[in-house]
Every structure is written in structure tokens, then in C-alpha cells.
């Protein structure tokens, strides 16, 4: 409970005075009478009611004190901040098609793997969730009344088994979005092996989606690393389907195709491929798998080699996909915060399971270590023309040039002095980081999708830098940075189970969770103004006080 006008509490010093006055007023006065004859007769008949009168007198004192206290407290305008959440709703869309029964290399079916991922998601959620299960294809196993707790839902999911029937997760999801209650936020968790990279959104719906899916492709590049000295480029190609596949792999150096391989892959086979190439002058190395997989456009692995530095980045697919996967690498560590523009100074404690906040229009993206605390001020909205990197020497901005980047809109961000401005426009900070040290907070005053930055090479580089900051520094450096003089470790494609070849990837769509009302948003704080009730009670006690005094 907080007091809006705490200065009113100074009036509490009146209370002892009031008590003293009332006690003084209620003391027994000595009076001499000619005879107690008649008074004693009253007492003998039990008419004096001394006890009840005494209690009434004391009650009157008590009521007066209560009145004063209630009045003081009501003028101090107490507000109860309630963090007691309402139940949050989640629909788990269960892809029960036959493909979910496919065995993976670790011996588990895709369904089982998805359920385990789901369990991990549950672990990050609070207990105030009520869950419905919706199967694709639809069946009588669906439970649509939001009656399940996390534990109950998990128990049922564990007992589910894919059945041989066709279904369309995307179509079901579309219908779900359309049917969703416009006034109630519902999280949708999709357990599917069909990665829904571009989930349909509905402007009137506030349903947010977290999808857990299987491999986003039937055939894909599983691992990739480069040995610059030896001029070797190691990669492995996986076939996640149950059919034999014959893809071809093309090596592109600085935009020119230099070699290609045709590979035959048996069902669920992962095969290594090695290219020997002089990489001394190469800046960009790309491996392109063709034909483009019908389930995913992620058919490219790209590495940027800087000979003079110890930094390298490898990623696959489009930048958005990278972000998705990069975020999925350490869900708990990546926090996106998008406060409302009309929010003045605020202080937000970031929990591992807390992702976005509020309904927002402009966004601030906060990348923070676990349990980090952000304290920023968000002002109005900015129209930004050209961002300028003010600290190119900062480790976050290494290799992240902002040339040609245009940001359409951003918020006016005001941060404490301890933050370093990395990018700004016309004096307004666009990207700031707290201090020079790693594992610090990084705040973006704009949403990347409101700019053409994702189309630039600096975008994934920056994200990797930022993620290095967010996740464990040591492991991050091992994973992402290596010296040209060292043997390059294989670049993991960010599957969270850290298997190098296959497995179920967890995908958190940043665009979706950034909308704030995601199922993973923190509990809203509700405020209850107590002053009217206290005032009413004080008036009642005043009335009772006068009534007691009058009788």
C-alpha cells in the first residue's frame, strides 16, 4: 500500500492529543450529594447500567479515534497496489498430424520433444494460467474451456499421441485468431513441426503467439565452421524428413559461386560436407542449399570473416529468422520491454519469465541480463532520418555500421547518465548501453521493424553482439567470437537443445511477443483507491460517535 499524499499522515500526531482529551473528558468527577438513598435504590434495581455506560463511553472514545485515523488515512489517499493477477488464458494448439510422430535422431518423437519444450515454457510461466488444448486436426480430445492448470495440461499433453490424419495448423490458427475474444488477451502456444514464421495477425485481436515447432525444414544446414588457415569449410547437411532427399550445396564467396556439391540424404540422415577454399581474402562466405525447402526459406548459411579482428558471425536464413533463432537461444535472457509513451519515469524489474509490458505503439527494446533492472524514461515519439553511430569503438557496435539505415520512428528516450549513447539522431539517443562492461543493459529506442536496419548486415551483427552481452559472456565468446588464428568452432544454428544436427527448435516470434499483451507479459499491477471507502467509514464512525454521545 502506498500513500498518494503521505504528508497528510503528519496529522497522526493529533491522535495522542485527542486520546488525552477524551480520557480527560471521561474521567470520574467527585460530587457530594445530600444522600445516596435514591441513587442506591437505582443501583439496587439495576437501572444504573454503569458497565454498559462505561463501555459506551469507551466505545465513543474508540469511535472518535477511529474517525480521526480514518479521516487522516483517507486524506493521505492510500492506494493498494495489487499484483494479484487475474487468470491468464492460453490455448495450446497441438499439431497431432502424423509428422509429429516422426522419430528424431535422439529417439524421441517430434511430439514428445515438443511437449518437453512446452514444459520448459510452462516453467517460465506463473501459476495463474488456465489452459485450453486444441488439437489439429480437431478431435474430442480438445478441451476448450480454459479449465486446465499448467500441470493438468502437461499431464494431458504427455498422454497425447499423434494420429494419422491430415490437418492444417495455419488454418486452425487463423480461425482461432478470428474467434478469439477481442477484449481478452489469449496466448497461443503452438506445438507443431511446421514453423509458422509469419503467423497471421489480426488488428482487432490481441492474441499472441508462442510457437514451439519442429525443424523448420525437411533439409537444412545443421552446422558450419571454417578453418581459415587450412582453407577448410566444414558443414553438415541434415535430412529431417522421412523421405530420401537429394539437395545440392553451393559455396558463394563475396557473392560469387565457387563450388557446389550434390548430396544424397537418407531419411533422418545428417551428412558432413567439406569445401577446400582459400579464404584469406574472403569477407563473406555463403553456403546455399537448393532447392529451397518447401517448409523454410532458411537455406543459406553466411559467415562474415574479418581478418584483422577476432570476430565472426555466422547465421542462416533471413535476418528476421536469425533474430527469432537468436532470441530462442536464450529466451530467459532476452527481454523486450516496450513501455507506453505516456509513461513517465518508471522502474521495471525484469524477471526471467517476464517479456513485454503494456499495450504499446512505439517500442523500446531492452536487452538485459537475467534479473536486470531497467530504469528509462520514455517521452514522445521521434521522426528519425539518419542514425549516427557515436561510439563505433564500443564493443556492441563492432562491425555494425549504420550506413544507409533509416529509422522511420522511434521514441524519445531519456536514460540515466550511466548509459552510453551508441547511436543517436539529432541529439536523441537511439541505442544506449549501460556502461562499458559486458552483461550490461542495451536499450533500443525504436522497433527494428520500423526501420530498414534488418536488411543491413549490421543488424545481425549487432544482435549477436547484444546477445553476447545478454547471455553468459564466456560461453557467448566461445560460441560467437573466435580468433582467425584459432580453429573456428562450429557455428551452432541456435537450436536450444544444443544438438548440432537436428531436434526441435523453440521459436519465440519477437514481433509477436513484443506486442506486450503477450501471454508472457508481466502481471499487470492494479491499483485500488481506498480513500472513498475510508472516508465513508470515517463518516459512519463519526455518526456512531455522535449517536453514542447523544444517548
Amino acid at each position: 500500500m502506498i500513500f498518494t499524499h503521505p504528508s497528510a499522515l503528519w496529522a497522526l500526531i493529533l491522535v495522542p492529543g485527542l486520546i488525552a482529551l477524551l480520557i480527560w473528558g471521561s474521567r470520574h468527577k467527585h460530587s457530594q450529594v445530600a444522600s445516596l438513598l435514591l441513587w442506591k435504590r437505582l443501583a439496587q434495581h439495576g437501572n444504573t447500567g454503569t458497565f454498559s455506560r462505561k463501555s459506551r463511553s469507551e466505545s465513543a472514545i474508540l469511535l472518535a479515534i477511529v474517525f480521526l485515523l480514518l479521516s487522516i488515512f483517507s486524506f493521505s489517499r492510500p492506494v493498494i497496489l495489487s499484483t494479484e493477477p487475474h487468470y491468464r488464458k492460453m490455448i495450446i494448439l497441438c499439431d497431432m498430424t502424423a509428422s509429429m510422430g516422426t522419430l528424431q535422431t535422439d529417439g524421441r518423437t517430434r511430439w514428445r520433444s515438443a511437449v518437453e519444450k512446452c514444459n520448459r515454457v510452462f516453467d517460465m510461466l506463473q501459476d495463474n494460467w488456465r489452459i485450453s488444448l486444441l488439437t489439429v486436426p480437431e478431435s474430442d480430445k480438445s478441451i476448450t474451456d480454459f479449465s486446465l492448470t499448467k500441470r493438468q495440461a502437461l499431464s494431458i499433453l504427455t498422454e497425447f499421441a499423434p494420429f494419422d490424419a491430415p490437418g492444417n495448423v495455419m488454418e486452425t490458427y487463423r480461425r482461432l485468431v478470428l474467434a478469439a475474444d477481442a477484449e481478452e488477451t489469449t496466448a497461443v502456444l503452438i506445438l507443431s513441426d511446421n514453423l509458422l514464421s509469419t503467423l497471421p495477425d489480426h488488428s482487432l485481436q490481441f492474441a499472441r503467439t508462442i510457437s514451439t515447432g519442429g525443424p523448420s525444414r525437411n533439409v537444412g544446414i545443421v552446422s558450419f565452421h571454417i578453418d581459415e588457415k587450412a582453407g577448410s569449410l566444414f558443414t553438415s547437411i541434415g535430412n529431417f524428413s522421412d523421405d530420401e532427399r537429394k539437395p545440392s550445396l553451393k559455396l558463394v564467396l563475396d557473392g560469387s559461386a565457387t563450388a557446389s556439391r550434390n548430396i544424397t540424404l537418407r531419411p533422418n540422415e545428417c551428412k558432413p560436407v567439406v569445401f577446400q577454399q582459400d579464404l584469406a581474402e574472403a569477407h563473406t562466405v555463403e553456403l546455399i542449399l537448393s532447392p529451397v525447402d518447401e517448409l523454410s526459406a532458411d537455406n543459406t548459411v553466411r559467415a562474415i570473416l574479418e581478418r584483422e579482428d577476432t570476430f565472426a558471425v555466422a547465421f542462416a536464413g533471413k535476418p528476421d529468422s536469425l533474430i527469432q533463432k537468436a532470441l530462442s537461444a536464450a529466451v530467459a535472457e532476452v527481454v523486450m520491454v516496450a513501455p507506453s509513451v505516456d509513461t513517465s519515469d518508471f522502474r521495471l524489474t525484469v524477471y526471467n519469465e517476464v517479456l513485454p509490458v503494456g499495450p504499446f505503439s512505439p517500442h523500446v527494446v531492452l536487452i538485459s541480463p537475467p534479473s536486470g533492472i531497467a530504469a528509462v524514461t520514455v517521452g514522445g515519439q521521434l521522426k528519425v532520418a539518419q542514425p549516427v553511430v557515436t561510439r563505433p569503438d564500443h564493443w556492441l557496435m563492432r562491425h555494425a555500421s549504420f550506413d544507409g539505415v533509416t529509422i522511420e520512428k522511434a521514441v524519445e528516450l531519456r536514460v540515466p547518465d550511466r548509459f552510453t549513447r551508441l547511436v543517436e539522431s539529432e541529439g536523441h539517443p537511439l541505442i544506449v548501453a549501460s556502461g562499458e562492461n559486458r552483461r550490461s543493459q542495451v536499450i533500443l529506442a525504436f522497433r527494428p521493424s520500423d526501420s530498414n536496419w534488418p536488411l543491413k548486415a549490421s543488424f545481425p551483427i549487432f544482435w549477436v553482439n547484444a546477445l553476447n552481452n545478454a547471455i553468459n559472456e564466456d560461453t557467448a565468446s566461445k560460441r560467437w567470437s573466435f580468433s582467425p588464428t584459432e580453429k573456428h568452432p562450429g557455428v551452432n544454428l541456435l537450436s536450444t537443445d544444443e544438438s548440432n544436427n537436428t531436434g526441435t527448435a523453440t521459436l519465440f516470434d519477437p514481433d509477436l511477443i513484443a506486442q506486450g499483451l503477450s501471454a508472457l507479459s508481466p502481471v499487470k499491477q492494479t491499483t485500488t483507491e481506498l480513500a472513498p471507502w475510508l472516508l465513508l467509514l470515517s463518516l459512519v464512525s463519526l455518526g456512531a460517535f455522535w449517536a453514542l454521545r447523544k444517548t
Binding site: 471521561s26 470520574h28 460530587s31 457530594q32 445530600a34 445516596l36 438513598l37 435514591l38 437501572n47
Partner: protein, 294 residues
Amino acid sequence: MTQQHPFDERFLKKLRLLEVDFRRSQSQNAEGSLSSMQLGGRGEFSDHRTYTPGDDTRYLDWNVYARTDRFFTKQFHKRQQHRMAILLDASASMSCGTPSKYSFGAQVAAAIAFVTLAGENMVSIATFAANRIRWSGTAHSHSDFPLVLNTLETTEAKGRTSLQQGIRELITRHPRPCLVVLLSDLLDEQDARRKLGALAAKGFEIDVIHVLSPEEIDPSICGNHVLRDIETQDTLMLSIDPRLQSLYSRELNKFVDGWRNFCDSHHMLYFLASTSTPFERLIFDCFRRGGLLK
């Protein structure tokens, strides 16, 4: 000791017009206040009668003999003197009130005594409390009035009430029935009524003047009080509120009604006199209408 007269001349003049109504004591007193036609003796001339042998020759009217040459004997109404005893409660409870019940009662007693003496009757006044009684001595005429005043003025209201003792002393002092005027607040927890009843049974005519102060009739105290009895020093802790005040008033009415009924049943006159009652109204109005004075 020279006593200052408590009443002014105007008031005394009015008092002289009054007379005590000795009712029952008329037949019982040897010297009643009502005159009877008697031959000779001291008294008021009434008539002549023809002399018959054996009449006292001292009452022959020689003037009439000189005019008529016949003997006539003078006849007189012989005035009989009645006796009144005034008992004034001088216990500590009578010291309460402003003016105090005692001083108010003393004024009333003095006025009644004055009227009695004006009617050439005898009066004696006693102030009494427990183990303490003071008699003024019997006053036969106005010249004795200072005796009465002296007794009243030199008595201090203190000690506990003892109506029984006062009555006992009265009987000792006045073995023959007389008119008794009792002035008291009657706040005596002992069985005073029984004693008064016994006194009435002996032929005493009793008039009771019940003196109470306004504070006793309508107590204005409110709140938490420790009441202390001025006589016994007993205390009683009470939270007095309007309801309790109303209960007290009811109890007081019962108390007064009890005395009034008792007096009625024993052919006594009963007067409730508040010390706030204008004195003249009490004497010239209440007592006259009530039959104590006429």
C-alpha cells in the same frame, strides 16, 4: 444575645394576618386555641347575663348596675393557648443546596413560629440530628421569639439524620399531644414513618414539610461521577446520562409519593418545599391552601 430579625416589617405585617390552623389539637389541648364561652376569667368580653346567686361577684358589671339598677354578670370568651412543636432536621444532608435546606427550613420554621406566637399560642423549636437535639424552650409570646431565632441560627447542620431520635425527644418533652411541624428532607434510611405513625396515634397533629433542593429534585449532573454521601461518606460510582436522570426523577417521585400517601393515610399535612420556591409564596399560598395556616 440580640438576634437580628430575619423578616422585614412588611413581611411581619403580613404574617400577623395569618393564624395557625390548630385543628385536632382543639379538643385535646387543655388550652385550645379556639375560645369557649366561659363566665369570667381572662379572655375577650362576649356578653352579659343576669346575676344568679353563686356567681363570682368579681365579674359583676357595676356600670350596667348603675344604669339599670340590676345585677349583670360579664361573660368572656376564654382564649385557650395551643402548643406547637417545630422539629427542624439539622443533619448534614440539610446543609446541601443554595440556599441550604437548613437555612430555608429555619426561615420557614421561624415564620411559622412567629405566626404561632402572634396567635398567642406557645411554640417550641427543636433542631435535631443523630445524638444531637437542641430545644429552644417554650416561647409564649413575641418577646420569646428571639429564643426561637437563637436556636435556629446557632445550630449548624451536621451529623447524620435521625428522625426517630427527634421524635423520641419530642415525646419526652411534650408528653401531651400538640401540633408538630416537621421540617426535614426525610432522607433517613431508618424507619421514620413508623415513628411518625406512632406519634400520630398518640394524638399528635403532625404537619410534614418536606424540604428538598432543586439539585435533588432535578439533578443536572451528567457524565462519570463518584457521588459521595455527605452524611455517611459512602461513595457510589455512576455514569449519569439523561436516561439515568429520568430514572432518578421517577425514583424521587416514588419517594415523594410514598411520603405523601403516608401523610394522607395518617391525617397529616404534607408539603413539598423546594428551596427554590419563593418564600412568600410558600407561606402565604402553599401553607394557606394546604391548611397549615389560615
